[in-house]
């Protein structure tokens, strides 16, 4: 009798696994169970929050003062750039208008706290404290102050799951800042990303900054992603092996920002008479 029950549950578990993994058909079940886990999750955050709060409480006047000085200096430097940016932006808008280019999409966003990371050593995912009730949708990009962190992959009513750019299933179209060459980063699963399908003679050097190219219509163009840390060229392979380190504090637990892209960039119009073109 227990053996029958055992096989019943095994069959059930395998069926759930297949439905979830192959067909992604039971998101509602996951959402339902997640609602049950929320109280425990919140409770488990209490010790961490308590430690953080007490640390903030014992923050001394001296460190606050040095911090203010540092921030003032930083603000001065930033103000210099900011002045130029407003001027450059208007100039850029004019130039774009002249060139009849579509204006860059307006990007808004909302800040969120990282609640916790998934316990699973296989996945690079974190949970944040904003969900579908706050207008978070699946697919939105997530950044921190230094660059791209990842993408919303699942939303619950009051929290959502962010797949980090270092996850194996995460790919981001990027552009090398120095040369303007386009490529795609793939997560390696160990806190780094890899540039795949770059020819072994590609012009990439260590220290190159990668920023989003905006080609996928998900990540807006111009956000920094990673810095190249390792370039291995082996003539035995057609492609160079290029590894880059994310610039953002991807594996840290900090404040993040979910970008809200107001208007989706339209997909390129299929060219009807492509075969008649002579310029390629």
């Amino acid at each position: 009798m227990p053996l029958t029950v055992l096989f019943f549950y095994i069959a059930l578990a395998v069926a759930l696994f297949v439905l979830d993994f192959r067909f992604h058909a039971i998101g509602f079940l996951r959402q339902g169970i997640f609602v049950l886990t929320v109280p425990l999750q919140r409770l488990s955050q209490v010790p961490k929050n308590f430690l953080l709060e007490s640390k903030r409480y014992f923050y001394t006047l001296d460190s606050a003062r040095t911090e203010t000085e540092r921030l003032k200096a930083a603000a001065l430097v930033a103000a210099l750039d900011l002045n130029r940016v407003t001027q450059l932006k208007s100039e850029n808008d004019n130039l774009r208008a002249l060139l009849e280019l579509r204006r860059r999409e307006k990007v808004g966003g909302q800040a969120a706290n990282v609640l916790y990371t998934a316990r699973d050593p296989f996945s690079r995912r974190v949970y944040i404290d904003k969900g579908s009730q706050q207008g978070i949708r699946e697919g939105l990009p997530v950044i921190d102050s230094k660059g791209i962190i990842g993408q919303i992959t699942f939303t619950f009513p009051f929290s959502s799951e962010v797949t980090l750019l270092t996850d194996k299933s995460q790919a981001i179209p990027v552009q090398i800042e120095r040369t303007g060459q386009r490529s795609i980063t793939f997560g390696l699963g160990n806190g780094q990303v890899e540039l795949r399908y770059m020819p072994s003679n590609a012009d990439v050097v260590i220290g190159d900054i990668l920023h989003t190219s905006g080609l996928d219509g998900i990540y807006p163009a111009g956000f920094q992603v990673a810095r190249v840390t390792q370039v291995a060229r082996d003539n035995a392979y057609a492609f160079a092996r290029i590894v880059a380190m994310p610039l953002a504090d991807v594996e840290g637990h900090n404040l993040v920002m979910v970008l809200d892209i107001q208007e989706k960039s339209p997909l390129p119009v299929e060219q009807k008479n492509a075969e008649n073109r002579e310029d390629y």
Binding site: P2, V5, L6, Y9, I10, L12, A13, V14, A15, L16, F17, L19, D20, F21, I26, L29, R30, I33, F34, L36, T37, L40, Q41, L43, S44, P47, K48, Y116, T117, A118, R119, D120, P121, F122, S123, R125, Y127, F154, E161, K168, G189
Partner: protein
């Protein structure tokens, strides 16, 4: 203190159902605390589940194991069914061997449950490999060792409420 097993003549009080629920809730909470990132952190839910499956196989069985597994799947954002399958098999094995295990002292009991923990992590890693992930390294088996080492301590604490005497002597100093 004499270990309450089938060899000893110590008689335990019946377990209170709310204590089982409480212990499982605490185990779930422990599984969700930030230290779960540590490599050697045991799966507390599995540990508690195995304990109650051995001690109270009539109350805690595969149904509870399945529900707890689904809960952990969602909490860990693993594929649904990964923990559920592992917990159900662990619970079945534990209760199937309970009649044998309960004849031994606590350290020997730990040696008996150790293979269950080991097989459970192996099963979970296997499911992940099926799902197309990489092998995470043998360090993933470390929590099984820790869990087995914690077994005597856990048994002691989870049996504490049942050590109380049937008739409490109010005039007793302690």
């Amino acid at each position: 203190m004499q270990t309450p097993n089938h060899q000893s003549n110590r008689i335990l009080r019946p377990v209170r159902p709310w204590f089982i629920v409480l212990s499982i809730l605490i185990a779930l909470l422990l599984n969700m605390l930030p230290p779960r990132q540590w490599l050697f952190m045991p799966d507390w839910v599995l540990l508690t589940l195995c304990f109650w499956s051995i001690r109270e196989g009539q109350k805690i069985g595969m149904g509870v194991a399945f529900c707890l597994g689904l809960f952990m799947d969602v909490a860990d954002s693993a594929a649904l069914g990964q923990h559920a399958l592992a917990y159900v098999i662990a619970s079945y094995t534990a209760s199937a061997f309970s009649k044998r295990i309960l004849w031994f002292s606590l350290p020997l009991q730990a040696l008996h449950v150790f293979p269950i923990f080991l097989a459970t992590s192996a099963l979970q890693i296997f499911i992940q490999l099926v799902a197309g992930k990489d092998f995470p390294g043998f360090a993933q088996f470390l929590p099984s060792f820790v869990a087995a080492a914690l077994w005597p301590l856990l048994s002691f604490f989870l049996l504490l409420p049942q050590y109380q005497p049937e008739f409490r002597d109010e005039t007793r100093p302690i």
